[in-house]
């Protein structure tokens, strides 16, 4: 039996804080956990099956002969393994998770309950349409809300995540341009954009060019106007932008882009700041994805699954992908897919996914929306902006706030490490925050602010929670300005100290190898 499965052996009887070491490597509730491949007794199974009757197989002579190498655990072992792992994670349920641009808000548990109702969870995507009318109605109701909340004309529901939604929007734009025989090769993207924007434009076959920001952290309207021309297909704008600022010239930008024959794509990652307060459709936007896992609280789940419906303007809606749920005058719902698309939606650019999109996220998002209603959603935007401004004004005397002077922020506040002493930087502050019991903010993004710290508290934090966070950041910021070298080694109290990312990338170990196999390979 392996006592300490982490492979770590103390080199000295006590670590630098002088803490006593334990025989197991565990520290009370902080429990080390081996990989499933290292747990003794991995030959068992946690599932009981009925006896298989004897039968002549029909596997075409391709029966598996070699072992697969899959360890199996009984139910108590499996539950304990993942429960122990779970306790090494930070989560919204544990505390403030102010990751800028990610909208880490509370995930209501009613949403989970609803998504598990058998009529939603246990329905096959290819069931005859008369047996899935409720599912189609959910998609249709959610679509109705998304269109109304954004003031747009249509919505493509099938994209699987935000970046997939961006792709959907750009493909709509490309289809619309091609329909009028207009070949355009360039997509303009501000320097402050999420990395997905340029990556998506390239994925959709466009050449990407940057547009600069002005000193106030906004798109430089004049520079943009100068660059617009017959080769520009679209401009991708994030609004509110990644500095947490609203683009006040948005309508003027849209007008200029439209006058040049191009389209405006809006990255809707930050829609939480304006939901129920401002409709992107009123600002001249042609396409915008909505991350249901941000604004509409579907769980982030450790990094997915997401869901990225795209709302479309009148000019782009005819080109949206199939399939989609359409409502008929008799009140019934139908899936428009390959078979009838030719008559009902002839402009469709094609299909993005095998089935109908992230249904499990649609049920959760609709539940969230119905819970809040039009009034609650407006309050969401207001409280998220209020919380962010409260943080901005409570920290700007100890942290550099590059746009603090230019007025209020939206749902997130941006700071930098300017003024920290010596080599202490943003990363160090972030790691010290871990020790204080908080998830760090987004670091080093957007790229336009050196040493950026982007803080998005969301509306589901109480004032007491914000006050505690502010006090923690203040204390660390003061240490950073005083050049406290202890910050360089933080975190001290997390399940792991700083991890060597360079080693991981230089000698990638991406799967587990049994020790004897690994040794033979050396």
């Amino acid at each position: 039996m392996t006592v300490n499965p982490s492979g770590w052996r103390p080199s000295a009887p006590a670590n630098e804080q002088g803490e006593a070491q334990t025989m197991t490597g565990n520290r009370a509730l902080m429990l080390e956990e081996p990989l499933i491949f290292e747990i003794d007794g991995g030959e068992s199974t946690g599932v009981d099956f009925a006896e298989v009757s004897q039968h002549a197989g029909r596997l075409g002579g391709l029966e598996r002969s070699r072992p697969i190498g899959l360890p199996g655990l009984s139910e108590p072992e499996m539950v304990r393994h993942y429960t122990r792992l779970s306790r090494q994670n930070y989560a919204i349920d544990l505390g403030l998770f102010p990751l800028g641009s990610c909208t880490m808000k509370h995930n209501p548990r009613l949403n989970e309950k609803v998504a598990r109702m058998p009529g939603f969870a246990d329905v096959h995507p290819l069931q005859p349409q008369e047996t899935v009318q409720g599912a189609l109605e959910v998609i249709n109701q959610l679509a109705f809300w998304l269109i109304d909340l954004t003031g747009m004309h249509g919505v493509a529901m099938s994209p699987k995540a935000g970046a997939h939604g961006e792709l959907c929007g750009l493909l709509c734009i490309r289809a619309a341009l091609e329909a009028r025989g207009d070949k355009r090769a360039v997509v303009l993207v501000p320097e402050s954009a999420h990395g997905t924007n340029p990556a998506t434009a390239a994925f959709a076959g466009y050449r990407v060019e940057n547009i600069p920001a002005n000193p106030a952290g906004r798109v430089d309207l004049e520079a943009l106007k100068t660059r617009l021309g017959p080769d520009v297909a679209a401009v991708m704008i994030t609004n509110p932008n990644t500095c947490g600022l609203f683009e006040p010239d948005m309508k003027a930008i849209s007008d200029a882009v439209h006058a040049a024959g191009a389209f405006v794509y809006c990255d809707g990652a930050n829609f939480n700041a304006i939901v129920g307060k401002v409709r992107p459709g009123d600002l001249g936007i042609d396409a915008m994805h909505i991350n249901l896992h941000k604004t509409f609280s579907t769980p982030h789940g450790g990094g997915g699954p997401g869901s990225g419906p795209v709302v479309l303007s009148q000019a782009l809606a005819p080109y949206g992908p199939i399939p989609f749920a359409a409502k008929y005058p008799d009140g019934s719902f139908k899936i428009v897919e390959e078979e009838t698309a030719g008559e009902e939606h002839p402009g469709a650019f094609g299909r993005m996914v095998a089935f109908h999109g992230q249904m499990g996220m649609f049920t959760r998002a609709l539940t969230y929306i119905l819970s809040h209603g039009a009034d609650g959603l407006k309050q969401v935007a207001e409280d998220s902006v209020l919380n962010a401004n409260y943080i901005l004004r409570s920290l700007e005397d100890v942290l550099d706030a590059p746009f603090g002077k230019s007025g209020p922020c939206m749902h997130e506040a941006i700071f930098s490490d300017k003024g920290f002493a010596g080599d202490v930087n943003t990363l160090d502050l972030a790691k010290a925050l871990i020790d204080e019991g908080f998830h760090p903010m987004t670091m080093y993004f957007p790229l336009v602010v050196h040493g950026a710290m982007l803080i998005e508290p969301t509306e589901t934090e109480s004032k007491a929670s914000l006050d505690q966070f502010i006090a923690a950041v203040r204390s660390i910021a003061e240490r950073a300005k005083a050049g406290d070298q202890n910050l360089k080694a933080a975190p001290f109290f997390a399940p792991r100290r700083r991890l060597d990312e360079t080693l991981a990338a230089r000698k990638p170990v991406l799967t587990y190898r049994d020790p004897e196999v690994a040794e033979a390979a050396e």
Partner: protein, 452 residues
Amino acid sequence: MRYLPLSNADRSEMLRVIGAGSIDELFKDVPEEARLQGPIHGLPMHASELAVERHMSALSRKNMAAGDVPFFLGCGAYRHHIPASVDHIIQRGEFLTSYTPYQPEIAQGTLQMMFEFQTQVARLLGCEVANASMYDGSTAMWEAISMAHRITRRNKTVISSGVHPHYVSVATTMAKFTEDRLATAVPELTAEPDTERLIGKIDGETSAVVVQYPDILGRITDLTPIAEAAHAEGALLIAVVAEPVALGAIRSPGEMGADIVVGEGQSIGVGLQFGGPYVGLFACREKHVRQMPGRLAGETVDAEGKRGFVLTLSTREQHIRREKATSNICTSSVLCALAFTAHLTLLGEKGLRQLASLNHARACEVAERLASIPGVELVNDGFFNEFTLKLPVEARPAVHTMVGKGVLGGVSLGRLYPGEATLQNGLIIAVTETVTDEDIDALEAALKEVVQ
């Protein structure tokens, strides 16, 4: 509003600290004319948990749940029993409400689970490495085609007629914009797929050959000759696995020479959910890992020498490489991957083999009984848990008639290939361990009636 903790007193106090007279002052960058006054007109106001649950529950009841009727649908989504403990694990808040592990010191739970998932997937598919998951099988297949394009610097892809038509449709859509050339075909109702014809399409310009295993009609074919033919021309073999439980019974694509193996992981641990969210599997050879899309967890050590895990090789990814990234993907389907890995850990080698064996035995039994109905013909020679029948009548109306008898009796090829006259009598039946003797009786009786 039960999800919003601020009181009006808090709001006033916070505005005072900010130095703003009202909330609207915080929105002053929004042009006056674009600012909405009051809640959006024509939409309902907030509602109690009870009222919302009632509304959603009523919508849920308008669907025919698979578990309530004899159910035989497959074609890329399979109904298997999911142990209760799997759903319990994915509902733990530390997994459910965490995010992409950008701060590895406080995300070892997710990172270790990803590493375990990658190992299980690689072993199951017979490859050296796997990523931490993609959106679903269909998007994973397109990503594999793009990856092959980057590796071979060729842009012609031969897609077998046995690949799921929706997957093909996704690839065709994307290829329009990237100028990749795809050779596609619709299947024929034959006992074996036409491997020779497929091999005949491979030439010196071919980047990759894409084969589904088992294929859309449920047929199983040896991939070895296809891999050899592809490699002889400098092309890669991409295998697509839509039903990974099959790999508990049959050889893995990697063993037969596939270079990239992608799949839909839904059938292990993830429910049907009307098509999503699912979990795309993606595995390949180690030498190609830097061309791979998606998140990867890798092993490393911390400052005290303890083993730990981090996201790695991120120089492939959009947040670093921007327009030069291998893909625009920013997420992986982590929570579904957790369900997959937890279910597979419960099964283990032994359980997966038992599960596969049970599925196959059940499917053989059902195939035999249905093929004995006069006029009904079993198309396949080999199959795992899904096979195709040729009916003496059009299958699409037959499926609807069976719904009237309370039976969800398979997927008609007419639904998947609406324009193809030669396929209209085809019906695909999937049989898993969830099917009971009574279900089989009901299907047999319903099918007998509709073909008469």
